[in-house]
Amino acid sequence: MSRLVKLSARNFQEEVLESDVPVLVEFSASWCLPSRQQEPVLQQIAREFDGKLKVADLNVDRNPAPASRYRVMGCPTFVVFQAGEEVVRRTGAQSRARLLEMVQAVVNVD
């Protein structure tokens, strides 16, 4: 059962900006090999922080509006949102440890 939330231009407001918990968003693309390899690691993090953090994925080709609004300039781009605001961002494939560093800004990682 997938714990990754599939984002689109339609549900971005509700799932990300109005979310009760912080959200780690991956801006990915069909053609982007690094972003296609992230899924297992993201699933793992989603499981570990269940209830404390939401992990979500947005395909930039299918949803150009949010991608351009947040000035996504490369794939994959990871952005952590808290209370509708961007907290931290990184571009390029991320290992589990590097993602945990990002998430640390908003949840307790120990």
Binding site: R36, Q37, D61, A67, V72, Q94, S95
Partner: protein, 505 residues
């Protein structure tokens, strides 16, 4: 059904031209989004070439399960009368797949220049299973199975305008590329052969990529590569499916980087394998530049004779080679067993490779076709159902031949004409096809070896094997040496232990 949730995003019938800006992030400022709920705030729209009555719609709103054009088959939803073009349709795999897909309801077209027949006869060999000319094959397909196949004689490398014209005419929704020279030893004979193989394979495929860009950009390319592209690294590093996973990290200087999505190192083991690696890079680039879609299939060593279609009539049989250049190892061992020739292990015989039976390979190809890649997606699958040492295979063939067919079989070790490690670790990853495409191997090694022995012991085939027994021992050395290999040892005592190490779901 593994592909029930796929949407028009995956479907070759979608028309995205001018509607999606694939390099929206960072490389282009133009935004094509035409949301139905406000300017530039919504989602993308597309048109369907098969169902123009839908007009402009959200391509993610229709799944294969819901679309009337996608029909249920045992291998997933399949596009109704899907137009498939097979390059190399006269070969061992090409002919088998043509009948297989036509039987599933695909509209099959194909091209071939009959080069494979030429290479084999150039070496003085022949297919031990007799095969018919294309005209008779097509006639028998119609007569026996009621299947029509649209064939045209075209050389993929040297007759590009003809291929382009055929593509424009057929508008294939998927192109299966089997049209390459598949032999490592053939490429190692001399400079002329190495040049030929690399030109034919690399430049032939490069032409196909340009033609797809211009003629059928929404169709996908299912391209045959080989597990031999990876080699067998002595570190024992797993052979991932083309790319590193995101949790593979590079550590250096107290820092770490994810290797996720980077192509893994390739270590090809002959000039033929180098041509396949070059193909991999060319296809990868084409997908990147033109958002073509492709599955690069790293197939294990293929073996076997059976599908229901090729077995339906002697005129429909696909070829089977036993010579050192075009015979794959299990096919060679079975032929050697029938000829009463001690099975030839090269060097120690401890080389480990991945294998797949003909029928299972057809299932894999079908499943890949039923779940086309997304726009711009280049992906790699390792297509095999188990891995064995060559010695285990020889013992399996010897055991079945002697116990079931009363053939006295010995095994010999001969000099290894190749430059390779005889003894090495091997950890292939091959879970993508079972996990994402629903592939379930159906053909146990022993069953297929039994079926091969049944066919090859028929008197007229046994005679054809015996006629070419002088071609069994290899004489093509990677070093350039020209001599037949010497026997190092005849293994008298064979322990028939169960050694199978196959895929378990």
């Amino acid at each position: 059904m593994h592909n029930a949730a796929c949407t028009c995003w995956n479907c070759p019938a979608i028309d995205l031209t001018g509607k999606v800006d694939f390099r929206a992030c960072g490389q282009s400022k133009e935004v094509f989004a035409q949301g139905q709920e406000g300017q530039g705030e919504g989602y993308i729209v597309a048109e369907c070439k098969r169902r123009p009555e839908l007009g402009l719609y959200d391509p993610m709103s229709v799944t294969f399960e819901e679309c009337p054009e996608w029909k249920r088959t045992p291998f997933g939803y399949l596009l109704d009368n899907m137009r498939v073009m097979i390059l190399g349709i006269d070969g061992y795999l090409g002919w088998t797949l043509a009948l297989w897909l036509a039987a599933l309801g695909c509209e099959v077209s194909g091209v071939d220049n009959f080069a494979r027949r030429g290479w084999v006869s150039e070496r003085g060999a022949h297919s031990v299973v007799p095969i018919r000319g294309m005209t008779e094959r097509l006639h028998a397909a119609k007569e026996v199975l009621g299947l029509g196949i649209n064939f045209r004689r075209i050389d993929v490398l040297n007759e590009r305008p003809k291929l382009r014209e055929f593509m424009d005419e057929m508008k294939p929704e998927v192109i299966v590329h089997y049209g390459e020279c598949p032999s490592a030893p053939y490429s190692m004979i001399d400079l002329d052969h190495a040049t030929y193989v690399q030109q034919n394979n690399v430049l032939g495929t490069l032409g196909v990529l340009f033609m797809m860009r211009d003629s059928v950009p929404e169709s996908s390319l299912v391209k045959l590569g080989t597990m031999g592209e990876y080699g067998a690294p002595l570190t024992g590093r797993p052979l991932f499916e083309g790319m590193f996973p995101a949790d593979a990290v590079l550590q250096w200087d107290n820092r770490e980087w994810s290797m996720g999505g980077e192509l893994t190192p390739r270590d090809p083991v002959s000039f033929y394998h180098v041509s396949k690696v070059q193909d991999t890079f060319n296809i990868y680039e084409a997908c990147k530049y033109w958002w073509l879609r492709s599955y690069d299939v790293m197939q294990g060593v293929i073996y076997g004779v059976h599908t229901d279609q090729v077995a339906a009539d002697p005129r429909l049989r696909t070829r089977l080679d036993m010579d050192e250049w075009f015979g794959t190892v299990i096919n060679r061992f079975v032929s050697q067993a029938v000829a009463g020739f001690p099975l030839t292990l090269y060097g120690s015989g401890e080389q480990i490779r991945g294998f797949i039976a003909l029928e299972d390979a057809m299932q894999c190809m079908t499943r890949l076709i039923t779940q086309p890649p997304e726009p711009g997606q280049y992906d790699v699958v390792n297509q095999m159902s188990g891995f064995y040492s060559v010695r285990q295979l020889a013992e399996t063939v010897a055991r079945i031949a002697s116990t079931e067919f009363s053939l006295p079989v010995l095994i010999q070790r001969v000099e290894n004409p190749r430059v390779e490690s005889d003894i090495h670790p091997y950890e292939p990853i091959f879970s993508k096809l079972p996990d994402r495409f629903g592939f379930q191997p159906r053909v146990p090694l022993e069953d297929e070896v039994y079926r091969m022995l049944e066919l090859l012991t028929q008197p007229h085939i046994r005679q054809r094997i015996n006629e070419k027994r002088h071609l069994i021992l290899p004489r093509t050395w990677w070093s350039g040496l020209k001599k037949q290999v010497e026997t190092l040892e005849i293994i008298e005592e064979i322990k028939y232990e169960p050694t199978r190490k196959a895929f378990r779901p």
